[in-house]
């Protein structure tokens, strides 16, 4: 049995299928960062840190004539989003009901996906993770409210990356509000704005809950690494006569290897 303790949950095989499938369905479209950055892992729950290959000198050394330095590592962060499922709903699922209430699971999936995206795009200071937009050495470009000008802004971002010697194709992540705005807009002549922007970047355009504004990211590889210890999993917390309390969990860390390989777009 793993640390997830799934076998202790009063949930049938069919119930676990339902819960896992629903979680996958909700998580996959929201995991925007995974579509744009390199993925390393999963390395398992026991992975605690990433080797940075660097050291810091220890003042005073370790004795007469002996210097000392300590390895620097980036420690894994555990993300967890809790949810509860009514046992009556699980019983209905076992009877074949097709409209099971899994709203709290959906919210937890959305929350943990947004948290992962936020850590990648904006960083997580308390865990020493620097995000893509924070690390970028380029001056951010303001998108403004006029959607029809977005292709021009994105083209400027691509040009800035090219000027810095950062090759494409490029991907574009957009926060939900801006993504919806772009999706709803057609340019003069009815050409969808989304298609125009896609032609400029040459790579994917992704809906990114947790991201403020947007970011153009090189897709050549080797610039950004999302490192996963335990990949997204569902575990068991406790239960009573009414509900089963579960959680979605993962462990991760993130590194920017090339600071100028992305350019932030502010909303």
């Amino acid at each position: 049995m793993s640390h997830l303790l799934r076998e202790h949950a009063p949930i049938t095989e069919a119930g676990w299928w339902l819960i896992d499938d629903e979680a996958r369905e909700r998580l996959q479209p929201a995991l925007a960062a995974r579509r744009l950055v390199d993925f390393a892992g999963p390395h398992g729950w026991q992975r605690s840190s990433t080797n940075l290959g660097r050291v810091r000198a220890l003042a005073g050394g370790a004795g007469d004539g002996v210097s000392a330095s300590q390895r620097r590592v980036l420690e894994m962060v555990e993300l967890r989003a809790s949810f509860a499922v009514a046992r009556s709903e699980l019983r209905d699922a076992d009877r074949g009901a097709g409209d099971i209430d899994l709203d709290t699971l959906d919210r937890a999936a959305r929350a943990i996906a947004a948290a992962e995206n936020r850590a990648v795009f904006h960083g997580l200071k308390s865990a020493a993770i620097t995000g893509i937009t924070e690390a970028s050495t380029h001056k951010a470009i303001a998108l403004g409210k006029d959607c029809e000008r977005y292709p021009r802004h994105v083209a400027r971002a691509v040009e800035a990356l090219l000027d810095a010697g950062v090759g494409g194709p490029y991907g574009l992540a957009l926060g939900p509000e801006i993504y919806t705005r772009v999706l709803q807009t057609a340019e003069h002549g009815g050409y969808p704005l989304l298609d125009h922007v896609r032609e400029i970047v040459g790579g994917p355009i992704v809906w990114a809950p947790g991201l403020d504004g947007g970011v153009v990211v090189s897709q050549r590889g080797g610039d950004f690494v999302l490192e996963i210890g335990e990949d997204l999993s569902i575990g068991y917390e406790r239960h009573d006569a009414e509900v089963v309390e579960l959680y979605i969990e993962e462990s991760l860390t993130f590194r920017v290897l090339t600071e100028d390989a992305a350019l932030a777009l502010t909303g």
Binding site: S2, E13, Q28, L31, R34, R35, F39, D231, S233, I234
Partner: protein, 138 residues
């Protein structure tokens, strides 16, 4: 040959202690067994049809053979959905003209490399198996 949801896979079909196998692995084993049975049934009808001369009997058996084809395809699709690496390799081989062996070698190499880069779940992991999403449609 029909699929019976409640039928357990016979104990001798497991190669590891069934109690230690996760539910997903036991379901996968049931569908593998079903796929094998459908393939056998296809072979049986194929042989019978090769020698049967009676038109009416042939029509009945041809209809039955169509059912077996359908069941086989449904089993296969289920298994491919649950085994992403298998699905990726199948994509490079099925419904393609040309050299089957060549397609197989190329597809395996491409899919295994892609799987390694995209973070296949660790053996024995109970994760959701999402991994990396580069190249995903959405």
């Amino acid at each position: 040959m029909g699929i019976c949801d409640d039928a357990p896979v016979g104990f001798d079909s497991y190669h590891e202690p069934p109690d230690e196998l996760p539910a997903e692995t036991r379901t996968f084993a049931r569908l593998c067994a079903s796929l094998t049975e459908e393939a056998e049934a296809i072979d049986w009808y194929h042989q019978r049809l090769a020698i049967e001369k009676d038109r009416e009997a042939r029509a009945v058996m041809l209809d039955a053979l169509g059912e077996e084809f359908k069941h086989f395809c449904m089993d296969l699709e289920f298994l491919l959905r649950r085994a992403p690496l298998w699905r990726e390799i199948a994509k490079g081989i099925l419904f393609k003209e040309g050299d089957i062996v060549e397609h197989g070698e190329e597809s395996e190499e491409r899919a295994v490399e892609g799987e390694a880069a995209q973070g296949a779940p660790l053996a024995g992991s109970e994760s959701l198996g999402i991994g990396g999403r580069q190249g995903a449609a959405r």
